[in-house]
Amino acid sequence: MSTQAQSFARQRRLSDLIVNLALLILVLIWTIPTIGLLVSSFRTRFDIQTSGWWWVFPHREWTTVEEIQPGDDLDRDGVMEFAGVSGTFEELRAGIATPDGLRVTWVGNKRLGVVRVQENRWTMRTDFTLENYGQVLAGKTYEIQTAGGETKTVQGDDFTGAFLNSLTVSVPATVIPILIAAFAAYGFAWMNFPGRKFLFTMVVALMVVPLQIALVPILRDYVSLDLNGTFLAVWLAHTGFGLPLATYLLFNYIRGLPRDILESAFIDGASHFTIFTRLILPLSVPALASFAIFQFLWVWNDYLVALVFIGAKPDVQVLTMRIAEMVGSRGSDWHLLTAGAFISMLLPLIVFFSLQRFFVRGLLAGSVKG
């Protein structure tokens, strides 16, 4: 009996171990890309371009211990000898191992190159810097070495402006749809008017309509109204595209609130407007918060709507546009990209981690968004 219990306990421990191991592997795979970006954003431009970000961790790397200048009179077409090994130029270029574990390599061309004696050592590259962030935030200049060897001064990037634009787009584009949806949800849940069922059916139907359907007509309207490139245009667009889901979710919540609250308030002579602002809004905070986080992340991370409706105006550009543009035009400036991308993630990550519970609740309440 006791041996059976023991074997059962052992089996249990084993299965726990397997579960945790499998989970650990998955979590590692999922986090490594983000860690890579975070680490890279603190590395120098040169390091990013010449070595993988994982080189900041201890690893074995061929490190130069001695540099030999080959003499001018050396016959470079024949067999040469350095640090106890000998070989032709081609063999030296590929690297020759010495008996005591070192490596001798010819670096550079035949005429001007040098010979390096290298040892395979444990090292890590930890020259971390905050320069990348300075360059993208303050638009500071920085110097780069061109292929020709000369130094060039290049202007950094202005992410501060893009960050402010993202904020100016996201806050109203989160609050306005929620306000409109909350009013509508109350109307649909607790008021009587002709066409109520038809209009709500329309809300449900529009939940999955892809926003691509609206881009061309709305852009034409904006051009004729001279709205294009304004914040109002983007707020309204996000409001329109987020509204069906917001109305549906808030309707489900508000309809579920106890009806006697409403009736007793009515008997006290309160109007619908008072009931809504004084009673329903405070009671709906959990539902409002969960949708707000959802909408905020969606708007902050949006690229397409911004691209279409403010694409033409560089001074209203949001972060996602700025980054996407940099990927295209300054693909080689990885150090700016890493810092920029991380700045764009900072606010959503903070919102996400501090309000995760609400966010999950919002996801669980609604399912399909168009």
Binding site: L23, A181, F183, A184, T230, L232, L243, S367, G370
Partner: protein, 398 residues
């Protein structure tokens, strides 16, 4: 004596009443007009101000946020106040439209009407339909129909959409996205949910898998560049995948670009799986916790092993959730745009429906063809729409 006072009271009452009405009407006009005026002045100022320097820019941002949020709230307050000036009967009749009116108007403008407008555009060539003057319908019907059918090409755009090779590749790619992307996101999500449910580190693990949900697809593109980047074989690889690949003694590959299509699409799809698994996991996790413990215990007592429990008890129990999550992710994948746009720009045969739509609409300026693509996209989600409507009708919320 008495009668004169009566008379005076009456006339003064009448005059008061008139004054009151006029006053009310005036106030009812002045308040909304002022509100509107102030909002429009604010809008003009925001549109025409080009701030220089960070401090000024911050100030403008704050003003814009206050103007936007406050403006929306004030419009509700003012219009409700206007309605409440009327008598009770009219308040009851009109107030619902203050509540639902703005929502309905915006939904009509931004989603419902564009569906018809886009469908109409899709029947015309790249110039689009002319503005029709209805007054000519009776005076000169020939002109009217002439105007109506200028640039009209029937379903030619749709024929072109399905005949063009680039579009066919786009459809195939979207299918790949659905088959690999949606399926694997669901599978991984379920896997993590089940594993985490049995682990002591449940919350930490779930948070980390969920984290990419907070990252934009553009940001994800930058992140994954550090995985997929390719360098010459003589240089050290700075992309993780190529570093591993070269470590295994292989040639470095341009994973998203030059490797044999359609396999390069798979590497873009992986990014989507990375982003969406967290979503699937959260929903599945909640569903799994809803399975009654007695059910699992009973089958354990009957000698079922964990694998059997997973396939025979868990999966059937949460089938509804799996379908919902699957549908959501399929709709999401149908509209996939940002990842492709940032990683490859739709080159190297990685284009999808949404990038083709963007190219037609805003690069080639071909409204007709772009509209046809958008309508095709809409048609693919119609089954989901019908399903939603049925569910809603069954709920009998009304």
């Amino acid at each position: 004596m008495q009668s004169t006072t009566d008379y005076q009271v009456k006339t003064s009452g009448f005059l008061d009443w008139i004054a009151l009405i006029i006053g009310r009407v005036l106030i009812s006009l002045i308040v909304p007009v002022t509100t509107f005026g102030v909002l429009i002045i604010g809008f003009r100022w925001l549109r025409d101000t080009i701030p220089t320097g960070t401090a000024e820019k911050t100030a403008v941002s704050v003003v814009a946020i206050v103007w936007g949020v406050g403006g929306a709230a004030i419009l509700y307050v003012v219009s409700n106040w206007l309605i409440e000036q009327l008598n009770t009967k009219w308040v009851r009749r009109l107030q619902p439209f203050i509540f639902i009116g703005p929502a309905v108007a915006i939904l009509l403008w931004y989603l419902a009407l564009p569906t018809f407008r886009t469908f109409r555009n899709s029947l015309y060539n790249r110039e689009g339909p002319l503005a029709v003057t209805f007054s000519t319908l009776f005076s000169a019907p020939g002109d009217f129909f002439g105007q109506l059918f200028t640039n009209f090409i029937g379903f030619d755009n749709y024929v072109a959409v399905f005949a063009e090779n680039t579009m066919r590749v786009a459809f195939r790619n979207n299918l790949l996205w659905i088959i690999f992307g949606a399926t694997l996101a669901v599978v991984f999500g379920l896997m993590v949910a089940v594993l985490a449910d049995r682990s002591r580190f449940e919350n930490a693990a779930k948070s980390l898998i969920f984290l990419p949900m907070a990252i934009s697809m553009v940001g994800a593109g930058v992140i994954w560049n550090f995985i997929y980047e390719v360098k010459d074989i003589a240089d050290p690889q700075i992309g993780l995948l190529n570093a591993i690949w070269v470590g295994l003694g292989q040639e470095p590959q341009a994973w998203t670009a030059l490797i044999k299509e359609p396999w390069n699409n798979v590497f873009l799809i992986i990014i989507m799986i990375w982003l969406q698994t967290g979503y699937a996991m959260v929903i599945f996790s909640a569903a799994i916790k809803g399975i009654p413990e007695e059910l699992m215990e009973a089958s354990r007592v009957d000698g079922a092993n964990e694998v059997q429990i997973f396939f025979r008890i868990m999966i059937p129990y949460i089938m509804g959730t799996i379908i919902t999550v699957g549908t959501t992710i399929v709709i999401f994948t149908l509209k996939i745009f940002d990842i492709v746009m940032v990683m490859t720009g739709g080159q190297f045969s990685t284009q999808v429906i949404a990038t083709q739509f963007y190219r037609e609409a805003f690069t080639s300026n071909n409204r007709g063809s772009a509209s046809a693509i958008a309508i095709v996209l809409l048609i693919t989600v119609v089954p989901v729409m019908i399903y939603n409507l049925r569910q809603f009708a069954e709920e009998e919320a009304f």
